[in-house]
Amino acid sequence: MASKSQDVEALVKKEYEHGFFTDIDSDTVAPGLSDDVIAFISKKKDEPDWLLEWRLKAFHNWQKMSEPTWAHVHYPPIDYQAISYYSAPKSKKDGPKSLDDVDPKLLETYEKLGIPLHEQKMLAGVAVDAVFDSVSVATTFKEKLADAGVIFCSFSEAVQDHPELVKKYLGTVVPAADNFYAALNSAVFTDGSFCYIPKNTRCPMELSTYFRINASNTGQFERTLIIAEEGSYVSYLEGCTAPMRDENQLHAAVVELVALDNAAIKYSTVQNWYPGDENGKGGIYNFVTKRGDCRGVSSKISWTQVETGSAITWKYPSCLLRGDNSVGEFYSVAVTNNYQQADTGTKMIHLGKNTRSTIISKGISAGHAENAYRGLVRISAKADNARNYTQCDSLLMGDKCGAHTFPYIEAKNASAQVEHEATTSKIGDDQLFYCRQRGISEEDAVNMIVNGFCKEVFKELPMEFAVEAQKLLGVTLEGAVG
């Protein structure tokens, strides 16, 4: 908890911490989307024919689809032909073999972001697959992971080195025609992360990817695929920051998780993309499809997310509980301030017997922001003894913001037990008074109360992330009260 008292006025004016821009010659394709552009991306990445076909099929599906409008968010129409669908740092061709080969400018950027790669290798014990503008440029801890048999690499590398795995699992959790943004991603994705944990293996370290959007006017379309074989375990961390800019940027990622028998995947996200300025100008559009498939018996997928950034968030990390006794979890903190809009939640689809799911969602809305929880719990007719517990709480700060809850519950099995609870309130005057009375500044008191409100979710995060998340929360809500 920050202890020094700060000038609220200064905080309100405070600019986005990570707002800087690294100038690297990008190998950018002209804006627009067509079969040719997709062929260009595919060729540029030296992809096999089946993948190009898959992309084109997705693109043709996408052309027939229309943008979803059901979410509780508002934004000007996006011109998909005005976006450039490929950009890669120039030095890519040679492929840096070690950190020394990496563009020093890139390294400088990472320093500013607080992820010094060379130090992290020793200190943090975290493997970082740093994605800079759609193409991975440096990967660490490869050897150590290779010893355990874990494959952790960029998506493009996986396509080259492990095509059979990619072909087997790509699009099996999120089909290419799943929704508008997933179809778009399937057509034009440039890179992302690939992770494969072999049978009965516990991944020796937390895997982490820092995504970063850089070149101006470029949409970012990552694709992540994680496969946990029988009896394996992996904890995957994803964290994001983005530089400041004026035009809105589109981000439509797809994440697919596959957990086979007795496997467990823990996927944690801290999302801190540029949310736009205090007048709602700029900011990232974050339209993400994340889905985990508990394919095997007694498998487990756990999503934890801290969403503080982006102008618009449209994101529903979901679990398909197909295997008997499988478990799905969703822990979320979504914070919106100024003119941010978030429509986020989860889907728990119970298909197997004795499947269980837990949903804990905390929404905090301040300024002129809109924050919605949208969730679906479906108990299918064959899912005997399925169990769900859902709790979504909203905290409102200020009288211009909105907080909404849209939970869908569909139960078709007589042994289903589903509970849903939701509350909406503001920060208690009594709580605030109690803190103020003990000499704690209002800003700190609010911080403390909000952190307490989110505690249930933070405790699910890996240690380093939990600390970062708490700080982020403070930064996001600066100036919201006082």
Partner: protein, 445 residues
Amino acid sequence: MSDTAVKHYIEELHRLQESLPGDKLSLIREAAMGQFQARGFPTTRQENWKYTDVKPIARSAFGIAEAKPATGYEKQLEHARLSGLDSHELVFINGRFSVEHSRSQDLPQGVVLEDMSSAVNNHSMLVDSVMSNTTLNDQSNPFNILNTAFIHDGVLIHVPDDCSIDKPINLIYLSGYSDNEFSAHPRNLIFLGSGARLTVIENYVGAKDRQYFINTVTDAVLSSNAALTHYKLQQESVESYHIGNLNIYQDRDSQVNSHSISLGGALVRNDIKVQLDAEGAGVLLNGLYMANGKQHIDNHTLINHLQQHTTSEEHYRGVLNDRGRGVFNGKVVVHKDAQKTDAAQSNANLLLSDQAEIDTKPELEIYADDVKCSHGSTVGQLDKDMMFYLRSRAIDEATAKSILTYAFAEEVIKRIEIEQIRHYLEYQVIGRLPDAELIKEFTHE
């Protein structure tokens, strides 16, 4: 398919209009039909109708019911009456008002209780005020519009300032006893002056296994300090279609208690829309739905907190058995100026069969910060410990189940203030459970 159904209703309207030359409402009907034509029947692609498919209604295209002869129906009427309850009684046969069966005496001075066809001539101002009120009249609901297109039967109730009607007004709708395959669109308008008090019962009773379509709308406008208690007891034939809209507008410090009990009907949809438009306005929505066989019962409620210091409380419970399907959608919207809103909502469901289904969606939309809002929704089964307790006392399984199911439903019934209605419902609810006679022993007060 929907187009032919719409065409059918346009023809039916022409038929009705010709039979009522020079009727004051003909323009309103035409306008509404124009709107309905533009909109058509709702489809499951519309969010509000996601879980309820009204194709069977569109497909059936029943003709408008004929007015019925005056005699008969005494036995059915006796059956539908709430025994021991003294009330002003208005009777509708197949949705058409029957003056011969109705009786209302000793109404306080100034109270208007008239059937719509005469109210149009005697109180056209009141009728117009509702028809032109777009916030009250739900323009987004196609069935509400369709009802307006056929507005003819129903009652107008006006209670003047500071007047209280002690005896409830009991509207009895007998359907299907003499006729099959008809549609009816009864419309009720209720006005309460400042400080007025009223209890209205809408009791829908249908002949066994008859097929028909009832599309009813009740609009209620409450002035300051007025109080309305509204009961809707729906026991239509299990082959029938029933669509009901209740639109409520509330002024300062007014209170509405609504009790909605849905037991009958093959395809049922109830919509309740409440506008809390002044400080101190409060509403209680209390509801029970029980679906057996292949029944489909959908309850949609919308509460708009438009001003500060308004309160709402909602309790809906469902019992789904056999292949029955329940749908619940409770939406609470707290608008920008509605600070100090207190809104609580709960929906509990009992799933008793693997073929039964419940789709529930409690929604909160909040644009003010100093509010207290909560909702809860559950789907579950009978408590194992409770079952064990009863079984260990030598009560057989079927009876134990029935007792616990009844206890679950009773949470809603016990909120009903009128004793006779409570008893009547206890009787009706228990009657739908296995081992009815045995349970009655346990539940006798």
